[in-house]
């Protein structure tokens, strides 16, 4: 409860004040609700004193009607107000979260964090919104009403007050335990679900392969095990909660019989009026029903807290710091100066790497998978910051340059080509938003995608992306090259090895790559002998260290790993089945 208030204040800031009138209205509504019970008690007293008449009935009925109408008005106002102010708060929250996410550095956006951000911006903010607009009022009402009833019970007989109070308090720890348990089992169920999803995606992605190896249905035991695991965790989660939820309900429901027994006892010792007895029963009934409302609201308070914590954790992510807004270097020479890097802090992915690339030259990165090629390119575009040494452009440490200024000078073509849900034209225009259509078409021609685009139903206006026309991996690749061509940045970072395998169209893709690399400072993770032989420098990496460095001729002369590789390639060209 306290956490909830603190979290709402932390998340909503000044706007949390908007909730105060709503809360006050809810308290007022509870008071009015208690008034109805008050009328009932007055009727009881009159009945006991045998002074209940038509006159009185009329008066009481009028009071009830008044209270009823007043409640309708109060409720309507408070509900409308919370339905207006709650979403305004969540809207501001979505905007500020979105704006903050925008400032985070590129390295933050891996698949994992994207999944998390998506979940937070959709599920968590919606939960927050729903709870704010629906549960806050109910919660305030339940609590206020219980407090009023308790006060009346005390006024009638302090023993009843204590009995009802004690029982209500007894229930709370049970509620708390069930909340903690449900959070814990919720986590386990969630990870079981994620396990199913990852194996399901694997199953769908590899369905052809699995069919060929007769591994479909339950024979694909990885998925079947995950499904069984999910069943087990879900069942366990529900069953482990049952005793606590039910004992909470039992305890709070026992308010009624306890009032009955205690009242009967007090009646027999003559220390209580029958009217008070009935009034107390009435209070017990209403408090017990309010407690059960509280019980059903409680899980939502928990999930509100969870959502708040998730949102706060995103707001707590800090973007990279930088000093200079723009890149003012005399040239685009790039130098790695004793660069080391580690993702985890344990395993070194790059170990003390030093080399330089002059402006306008091409550097080819080669070496086996896991040797650190991708890391070099990622560090250069500041997905991450180096853990040792420094990277400079024109003598300036890239950590001093604003990320925007850095990316403005780079064109990057990597493996995962993300297409917006938009037309092909706009997808290419991403490279240069103010480009004319003619510029886009010329970039598309150079990237060898013009031809396939014009054969599509609506040409450049064809919608692509999720839910749009499907295009092949090679075609996506070429669109991303067209983007980069349109951007025309002085530094180009490329990954050839993971470029989509589309053997039929490979020549087109390669030609597009070649055009992109012309007259630029290029870093390319290369796999074509052509690219490599033409590079000014070849950097052969192995397990995070530079094994060989030089141009094709120099490396052939040294007769190392590279020379062997080229020799193998020569053999390969002779091969036939």
């Amino acid at each position: 409860m306290r956490d909830m208030i603190l979290n709402i204040r932390k998340i909503a800031g000044k706007d949390s004040g908007k909730l105060i009138p709503v809360i006050l209205l809810s308290v007022l509504d509870s008071m009015l609700n208690s008034c109805m019970y008050g009328v009932m008690i007055f009727i009881l007293i009159d009945l006991a004193d045998s002074i209940f008449t038509f006159e009185k009935l009329k008066l009481y009925s009028l009071i009830l009607l008044g209270v009823f109408l007043l409640r309708c008005v109060t409720q309507a106002i408070s509900l409308s107000k919370v339905q207006h102010d709650g979403p305004v708060i969540s809207k501001k929250l979505r905007l500020s979260l979105g704006n903050h996410i925008r400032s985070l550095n590129l390295g933050f956006f891996n698949q994992n964090s994207q999944g998390r951000l998506n979940a937070i911006l959709t599920t968590d903010v919606s939960d927050f919104e729903t709870i704010l607009t629906h549960c806050v009022c109910d919660l305030v009402k339940a609590i206020a009403f219980s407090v009023f009833s308790l006060l009346i019970a005390f006024a009638l007989d302090w023993k009843f007050g204590i009995a009802i109070g004690v029982i209500a308090l007894l229930g709370l720890p049970l509620l708390n335990i069930s909340g903690t348990l449900s959070a814990r089992s919720g986590k386990r169920t969630h990870s079981a679900k994620e396990n199913v999803v990852s194996h399901l995606l694997e199953y769908i992605g590899g369905i052809k392969t699995f069919r060929l190896y007769n591994l479909t249905g339950e024979r694909f035991s990885r998925l079947d095990d995950a499904l069984l695991g999910l069943k087990k965790e879900s069942t366990k989660a529900e069953l482990s909660l049952l005793p606590f939820i039910l004992s909470f309900s039992t305890v709070t429901s026992c308010l009624i019989p306890i009032a009955l027994i205690l009242g009967a006892y007090l009646l027999t010792v003559q220390s209580m009026e029958p009217v008070s007895f009935i009034a107390v029963l009435l209070i017990a009934v209403s408090v017990s029903s309010m407690m059960s409302t509280l019980g059903s609201l409680y899980p939502q308070v928990r999930s509100l807290n969870r959502a708040c914590e998730n949102m706060l954790s995103v707001l707590g992510e800090k973007p990279f710091s930088y000093e200079k807004e723009t890149l003012k270097a005399s040239n685009a020479d790039i130098a790695f100066d004793h660069v080391s890097f580690s993702y985890t802090g344990k395993e070194q992915v790059l170990k003390d790497i030093s080399f330089a690339a002059k402006q306008g030259t091409t550097t080819a990165l080669i070496g086996p998978s896991g040797s650190g090629k991708t890391t070099i390119v990622s560090l250069l575009s500041r997905f991450w910051d180096v853990t040792g040494g420094r990277i400079t452009i024109g003598g300036q440490d890239i950590r001093d340059i604003s990320p925007d200024a850095l990316t403005a000078n780079m064109a990057v073509v990597f493996q995962d080509v993300y297409l917006l849900n938009d037309t092909i034209m706009n997808n290419i225009k991403v490279g240069k938003p103010d480009a004319s259509d003619a510029e886009v078409i010329s970039a598309a021609r150079s990237a060898n995608c013009h031809d396939f685009i014009v054969t599509m139903e609506n040409g450049y206006d064809t919608m692509i992306g999720e839910g749009g026309s499907t295009i092949s991996g090679g075609e996506r690749q070429r669109i991303s090259i067209a983007r980069a061509l349109l951007k025309d940045a002085p530094i180009v970072l490329l990954d050839e090895t993971t470029s989509s395998l589309d053997a039929d169209n490979e020549r087109e893709i390669q030609a597009a790559f070649d055009r992109l690399m012309q007259n630029k400072t290029v870093f390319v993770i290369a796999h074509r002998l052509n690219t490599i032989m033409g590079a000014d420098n070849i950097l052969v990496l192995n397990q995070g260290e530079i094994m060989e460095f030089g141009n094709h001729k120099e490396l052939m002369r040294t007769g190392g790993w590279y020379a062997q590789m080229v020799e193998q390639q020569r053999q390969a060209e002779q091969w036939a089945v």
Binding site: M36, F52, L57, L64, R71, C72, A76, S80, Q83, P87, S90, K91, L95, N99, I101, R102, L106, L117, N118, L121, V197, L200, I204, I207, K208, R211, Y213, E218, R222, L223, D224, L227, K231, T235, E238, T250, S253, I256, P257, Y265, F277, L282, V285, T374, T407, Y418, L420, G431, L501, D502, A503, R507, N530, I532, M565, Q569, A572, E573, A576, V577
Partner: protein, 583 residues
């Protein structure tokens, strides 16, 4: 009307899913009803005590009544616990069953299904739509039975006490139902708009986050933020437009449900004063008015939740209704070599024919190359063999047996297929190779890896064969992945092999190794090789040239070059391109 039919079919289908578990469900519902009836016992005891108090008869003492009430409460929750435990265990069993059936079915349907449906959609059905069934089986069925049976039972009892008072208790229910109907009608348009914008908002958020890397590389975050912000604002406006209409009536519904006393007290007072209602009954009805209506709240959301569930059911059913590929009963020995024949084969995706009536013989242990430009149909022709799709006309035969007459498993046992896009499990390299043969030994895996020229690379990794590949682990290059797939196929050692060559141009680190790997794989197999680099297949037993779905010509390299047809010109272009590359 249509949705109504869907709902009905949906319910029947749902109960069909429960099938063998219906009995458990029925018993669980029985306990729920008992528990629901127990809810009212304490109030009955209050009534009896009041009767006692006013000297109007009634049995037992207040103390007894209290104890009966406590027993009833404990029983109520014991019954509820039994029922909840049963329904949940049952529901999660059903969920597992449905998911398993879906997975099994997905393994049998025509592969066109996967091109027509995004992975995201399938995932949504498997996870979210199926998950909602839990709501139906564990909560809705018992809840609705209880929500109908218990109030009716109580009402019958109340009628025996006083008809008029019972009727006035029904009045709030009538009023709230009317208000709800009015709400539904007046808010139809704003609600539709709201749901539409809610959907759009999720899509925009998804794009905002997933597109962020691209937007950042191109310094476009301000633009994408603007779109994001606009959508969020319009969602917010739509919310308010709907809420403005809905808030007052729903506030009134809440007040009506909570104001049982307002209805009961005046009428009761009048009836009491005119002598047609006992004092004790008056008080009893007042107390009942507090609890009777609150049990009605559970029913309020039922319709909305149910329509969500049933739209999910429709989607589940759509998948299950896709006809599975037929299964034959003939078998072939995977240890023997087989011939392969295409006999007047035509094939169409939906309406569009992509392969036009061709015939082809692949003799035992021969090597046939499929060549041709992109989209010519060579990959499709190859993918008909493992029945990823079935031919539209004609037949494909192995040793003369139509592949549709073979047991599906047996067909697969007889064939290996190495794809261009190598598929990898997110698991260890060992598991990735071992999936090639059920129950293989560690040694067999290593032998296969050695033949596939991938063993040395694997051993160079820090954890060797236990290295996990994929999202969390080491990423492999395309060539390395293909060699893993070749190792898998070597391990399987099936008599028919289809190989889709991955690259047409030189890949410095892998090409030679792939070739060596392929040599081990090709030994004594009936092979189809989809080739992109013509010089590798000059020695093939026959080369088949595909062009726009037609099989143009077939023959050895020598014959085809000599005949001066399609292949001859392809060969010429290819040689020029290679010279260009070399220079």
């Amino acid at each position: 009307m249509k949705t109504k039919n869907n709902n009905k079919a949906g319910v029947r289908y749902l109960l069909g899913l429960a099938n063998s578990k219906k009995l458990i469900l029925a018993v669980a519902i029985g306990f729920s009803v008992l528990s629901g009836l127990c809810t009212f016992v304490p109030f009955l005891m209050i009534f009896r005590t009041i009767l006692l108090l006013f000297g109007e008869g009634g049995a037992g003492s207040a103390m007894q009544n209290g104890i009966i009430a406590i027993v009833a409460i404990v029983l109520r929750f014991v019954f509820q616990a039994i029922s909840a435990a049963m329904t949940h265990v049952n529901a999660y069993n059903i969920l597992y069953h449905v998911r398993r059936e879906l997975c099994r079915h997905l393994g049998k349907v025509n592969l066109g299904f996967f091109t027509g449906n995004s992975t995201g959609e399938i995932k949504k059905i498997m996870m979210e739509d199926v998950e909602r069934l839990e709501m139906f089986f564990a909560h809705q069925i018992p809840d609705i039975v209880v929500a109908i049976v218990v109030p009716v039972a109580v009402l019958v009892y109340l009628f025996t006490i006083n008809v008029w008072m019972s009727l006035i208790l029904l009045l709030p229910i009538v009023l709230t139902t009317l208000t709800q109907v009015i709400m539904l009608v007046t808010s139809k348009n704003p609600m539709d708009e709201f749901y539409w914008l809610a959907g759009k908002q999720s899509a925009v958020i998804l794009q905002y986050i997933n597109g962020m890397p691209v937007m950042k590389t191109y310094n476009l975050t301000a633009d994408s933020y603007r779109e994001y912000a606009d959508t969020i604002s319009s969602y917010n406006n739509a919310w308010w437009r709907a809420a403005k209409i809905l808030s007052p009536p729903s506030a009134i519904i809440t007040v009506i449900i909570e104001s049982g006393l307002f209805f009961v007290l005046p009428l009761g007072g009048y009836l009491y004063l005119t002598g047609s209602l006992a004092l004790s009954s008056y008080i009893f009805f007042a107390i009942m008015s507090i609890v009777f209506l609150s049990s009605y709240i559970n029913l309020a959301n039922f319709a909305q939740i149910f329509s969500q569930i049933s739209s999910g059911i429709v989607r589940i059913k759509e998948i299950m209704d896709i006809p599975a590929m037929g299964n034959g009963n003939k078998t072939l020995l995977p240890t023997e070599s087989h011939s392969l024949t295409y006999e007047n084969v035509s094939f169409a995706y939906d309406q569009q024919e992509v392969l036009h009536n061709f015939s082809l013989d692949l003799p035992i242990d021969s090597l046939t190359a499929f060549v041709g430009p992109s989209g010519a149909g060579k990959s499709t022709a190859a993918q008909l063999v493992p029945r990823f799709w079935d031919v539209s006309k004609g037949a494909i035969r192995i040793d003369g047996i139509d592949i549709r007459e073979l047991e599906a498993d047996n067909l697969m046992d007889n064939m290996s297929f190495v794809f261009q896009e190598a598929f990898m499990l997110n698991d260890t390299l060992y598991e990735n190779i071992a999936m090639g043969k059920h129950g293989c030994t560690r040694q067999e895996v290593e032998v296969a890896a050695k033949s596939a020229q991938i063993h040395d690379f694997i051993m160079s990794l820090p954890k060797g064969y236990d290295t996990v590949i994929g999202s969390e682990g080491v990423k492999l290059s395309g060539g390395e992945r293909q060699r893993v797939c070749i190792a898998r196929a070597i391990l399987k050692d099936a008599p028919i092999l289809i190989f889709d060559e991955a690259t047409s141009f030189t890949d410095i680190e892998n090409e030679r190794k792939i070739q060596l790997a392929l040599e081990s794989l090709l030994e004594s197999k009936t092979t189809v090789m989809i080739a992109h680099r013509l010089h590798t297949i000059v020695g093939a037993d026959q080369i088949c040239v595909f062009q726009s779905g037609n099989l143009m010509e077939c023959g050895t390299h020598h014959d085809l070059v000599a005949s001066g047809g399609a292949y001859a010109s392809m060969w010429q272009t290819y040689c020029e391109a290679m010279r260009e590359v070399a220079s």
